[in-house]
Amino acid sequence: MKTKIDLKNKYLPSEDVVARDVHGEFIIIPITSGIADSDDEIFSLNEFGRAIWEKLDGKRDLKGVASILSSRFVATAGEIENDVLGLVDELLKRKMVVKA
C-alpha cells in the first residue's frame, strides 16, 4: 500500500528502532525484524537526516520541521521541504517512523 507523505502530517520515531549517537555517527538500530533488508544491518543518517529525525516528535508537522531546519541549513525552503519529504518517505518505508 502506497503511503502519501504530506507536509501537514506528523510523524515520530517507531518504537521498533533505537537511534544512537555513537562517537559522532548517528545510527538507527532495528529492534524488531522486518526493518532491515537482512538480519544484520544497522543504518546511519547524515547530519541533515539526523536534524530531521530529531525534530520528528509527533507534535510538529513536516512543514514545521522544514521551517526549523531552514534556519540551520543553507538551502531554499522548497529544497528543504523536498528533502524532509524524501527522508520521511524512506524512513516510513523502512518502518522506522510512524504517523502520529
Binding site: G24, P30, I31, S33, I42, G49, G86, E90, R94
Partner: protein, 400 residues
C-alpha cells in the same frame, strides 16, 4: 540538497561505522555463567551445571543491566554473551531483550542444546543482528558425546540447530578438534557448507587452553592429553595446501616479526570482558590477578582509560622469555601471549612449550626454518619471509 538514498545501510562490518577514531568501547564480552550443561574435558572454563556456589556468586540481572548501560554510554555497539553456556542463565531472555532495546547487537556463543521453539520465536521477532555462533562437537552421537560427556546432548544440539535453520535464524558453526572427532572434519565441513550464513570454512579450536582459573591440575592433565600433537595440528592446517600457503604468504608479509619485550602485542585491553562474577578482564582468557579489576571498585571507563593502557605497557622479565619469545620472528604463527602463559604456568611471561612446538612445526613446513633450527636464533628472518612470500604456491613437496 540530497542526492541518492537518505538512509545508509551498514552491514555487519562494524569497522565501517567510523572513519578515523573509534569509540572507547566497541565490543563487550560478558560471561553470563561458567556453568555448562555439557562436560567437555577440553574446556578451560566449564563448571558443573549444578554448582550452586558458582550460581550464587554470579552477577545479578540488575548488575548486568548496569554494565550494559555503561557499555552503551561508552559507545559499545555489540555485546557477546558467552560462558559456560549462556543460555543456562535464568535471566538470559530478559538480558537479551534489554540489550537489544539499548540498541546493542547481541552475539551469542552457545552449544545450541538449550535452543527452544520459544527462544527461536524471540530471535525471529527480535533478531540478535549478529550470527549465533555454535560449537559443534561431533557429527554423530558417539563422537559428540565422547567430547561433551553428557548423554542426550547430541540430540539436543542437533534439535537446537534444526530449530534455528528451519526458522532461518542466522547462525554459524565452529568445531573443536579432539581425538573423538578429528576424523570427521570432512563430513563437518561438507555439512557446514550447506549452512547459508557460513561465508567461509568453519573455525576450529585445537590448541586447547588449560584451565583459565588454574583451578584443577587433574583437568589440566586431561586437557594436555587431548591436545593434538604439533604434527597432527600441522596436518589439519595444511589439508588444503594451496589455500593454506596463499593465506600464510599474506599473513607472514604482515604479521611476522619479533615482538621484543612488550608482553601485549595482541588486542587485549582494547575491549572489555566481564566475568560471571563482576571482574573486568582485558580478554576472556587472562585472569592473572595483576590484570583483573573488580567492577565494584573500577568502572568500565576507568579500566579502559586508566588500567588497561598501563597494563599494555608491561614488559617481560623472565630471562627465558627474553632470550626466546622476545627474539622470535614466528610471533604471528605462535599463540604465545600473557593469557596462555598465565594458564600454563601462572605467570605472564613464560614460553609455552606446546605453542612453541606448533609454531615451529608450521615454520618448518613453510620453509622458514630448517630442521632443528630455533626461530629466535635466526638473524636473516626478513630475508626468509621475503623469499617465502615471493614463491609461487604450491611449492612445497613435503606434504604428508
Amino acid at each position: 540538497m540530497q542526492t541518492g538514498s537518505y538512509v545508509t545501510r551498514i552491514p555487519t562490518d562494524k569497522g565501517s561505522l567510523w572513519k578515523n577514531s573509534k569509540p572507547l568501547l566497541v565490543k563487550l564480552d560478558i560471561e553470563l555463567t561458567e556453568r555448562c550443561n555439557n562436560n567437555c574435558a577440553h574446556c578451560c572454563i566449564n563448571l558443573p551445571l549444578d554448582n550452586q556456589e558458582a550460581a550464587k556468586n554470579e552477577l545479578s540481572t540488575a548488575e548486568i543491566k548496569n554494565i550494559l548501560k555503561e557499555a552503551v554510554s561508552l559507545g559499545c555497539v555489540t555485546v557477546r554473551f558467552t560462558g559456560g553456556e549462556p543460555l543456562l542463565k535464568e535471566d538470559f531472555e530478559e538480558l537479551y531483550l534489554f540489550s537489544r532495546k539499548l540498541g546493542l547487537r547481541v552475539f551469542i556463543f552457545t552449544n545450541a542444546t538449550l535452543i527452544t521453539p520459544h527462544l527461536v520465536d524471540l530471535f525471529c521477532r527480535i533478531p540478535p543482528l549478529e550470527r549465533i555462533e555454535i560449537s559443534v562437537y561431533g557429527m554423530k552421537k558417539s563422537s559428540y558425546e565422547g567430547v561433551s560427556r553428557v548423554s542426550g546432548s547430541f540430540e539436543a544440539a542437533w534439535r537446537g540447530i534444526s530449530l534455528l535453520a528451519k526458522r532461518r535464524v542466522p547462525f554459524v558453526v565452529k568445531g573443536a578438534l579432539l581425538p573423538a572427532n578429528k576424523d570427521e572434519i570432512e563430513k563437518f565441513e561438507k555439512w557446514s557448507a550447506t549452512i547459508p550464513w557460513m561465508d567461509k570454512s568453519p573455525q576450529y579450536s585445537m590448541f586447547f587452553d588449560l584451565r583459565c582459573r588454574r583451578d584443577s591440575m587433574d583437568k589440566n592433565r586431561q586437557i594436555k592429553k587431548l591436545r593434538l600433537s604439533a604434527e597432527d595440528c600441522l596436518k589439519i592446517l595444511v589439508r588444503r595446501k594451496e589455500y593454506y600457503i596463499r593465506v600464510m604468504q599474506e599473513f607472514c608479509a604482515k604479521f611476522m616479526h619479533p615482538s621484543g619485550d612488550n608482553l601485549f602485542s595482541c588486542g587485549s585491553g582494547h575491549g572489555v570482558c566481564v566475568d560471571a562474577y563482576g571482574k573486568i578482564q582485558p580478554c576472556l582468557a587472562l585472569r592473572h590477578p595483576d590484570c583483573v579489576y573488580d567492577l565494584k571498585k573500577v568502572s568500565l571507563k576507568e579500566a579502559l582509560i586508566n588500567y588497561f593502557p598501563k597494563m599494555r605497557e608491561m614488559k617481560a622479565e623472565n630471562p627465558d622469555y627474553l632470550s626466546r619469545c622476545a627474539k622470535c620472528f614466528l610471533r604471528g604463527l605462535c599463540e604465545q601471549c600473557p593469557a596462555k602463559s598465565w594458564m600454563e604456568y601462572g605467570t605472564l611471561d613464560t614460553p609455552v612449550e606446546y605453542l612453541c612446538e606448533c609454531a615451529h612445526a608450521q615454520a618448518r613446513y613453510l620453509g622458514l626454518i630448517e630442521e632443528e633450527e630455533k626461530a629466535w636464533k635466526v638473524d636473516n628472518w626478513k630475508e626468509r619471509i621475503r623469499r617465502f612470500c615471493e614463491k609461487e604456491a604450491p611449492y612445497h613437496e613435503n606434504e604428508n
